[in-house]
Symmetry: C2
Subunit: 155 residues, 2 copies
Amino acid sequence: MSRTYSISELASEFDLTTRSIRFYEDQELLHPSRRGQTRVYSSKDRVRLKLTIRGKRLGFSLAEIRELFELWDETRSGSKKQLHLMLSKIGDRRAALDQQMKDITMVQLELESAEIRCRQALEELLEKEPQEKQNEEERTGTSDKASAPSSATMH
Amino acid sequence: MSRTYSISELASEFDLTTRSIRFYEDQELLHPSRRGQTRVYSSKDRVRLKLTIRGKRLGFSLAEIRELFELWDETRSGSKKQLHLMLSKIGDRRAALDQQMKDITMVQLELESAEIRCRQALEELLEKEPQEKQNEEERTGTSDKASAPSSATMH
DNA sequence: AAACAAGTTTACGTTAACGTAAAGCTATTG
DNA sequence: CAATAGCTTTACGTTAACGTAAACTTGTTT
């Protein structure tokens, strides 16, 4: 059990370049084993990669993410002083994330009001100009590869 | 009413350098007026600065933030096609923020479990070594003078 | 008047996070 | 067997978001 992955498998699964994955290893976020000279990634490596991506989406630097990994790894073997330091750092992170939550809520509200404003402007346009023959492109061609399904929000 | 601000006032209020604020202007996030050659910031400018900082905390690039500002500004004067484009972009942003919310929740859970794990390790330490003097390894070359629990800097 | 504080422009330097060749190993496939 | 596919290392290039320094203007204080 617990299968392994090649670098390109992971790359395509998470929509990264192999360059990035090797770079993450260089920054000590990943520690794949080798078969010959070829990198072999375990499920644990895969999880780490997933966490890395998640951290990046939250604006963490690779160095910060590495720090969190190290904290986690050394939790078992830490001395008393080490453990207290870890608790302090974890506390800092949690506080920062709480702040982020608040930020997101604020921005969501602003975007929501922008959307409403936008729809109202559209309605007014349609009232003043009932039926012109203006043909439009319908689809805005902006394909955003990395982002989630865009129909998620509404209300 | 609606007072004005100097660049250094804003800098100290939001804990930025004046360099940053001028840079934001260079990137067209701010448009302060001038008295002579000196920049004069309005309350509206201040709000924009606040939003900029908030956006940065969420991992937006300055270019993205600028885009959002422009969307907002042009909402009133937009054509039908423009308005639909805006709605689409707003939708993308909202979806991305929803994803971020989920990410944060996940990471919060992980940090929480890390904290618990940490506290347990501490408890075990205190049970095995009720009030011993100093023993075991734990002498890591580097002498750390200030052992105060100073809350670690986050950044 | 001289010095100081606060502001300005110009411009080169720096760091993070990759992108983009170039050149070489290695296994398999037509 | 030669070519292709996939992997590797090495190394220089690029972009964003400022930092830092120099040289200058303008107003205020001593």
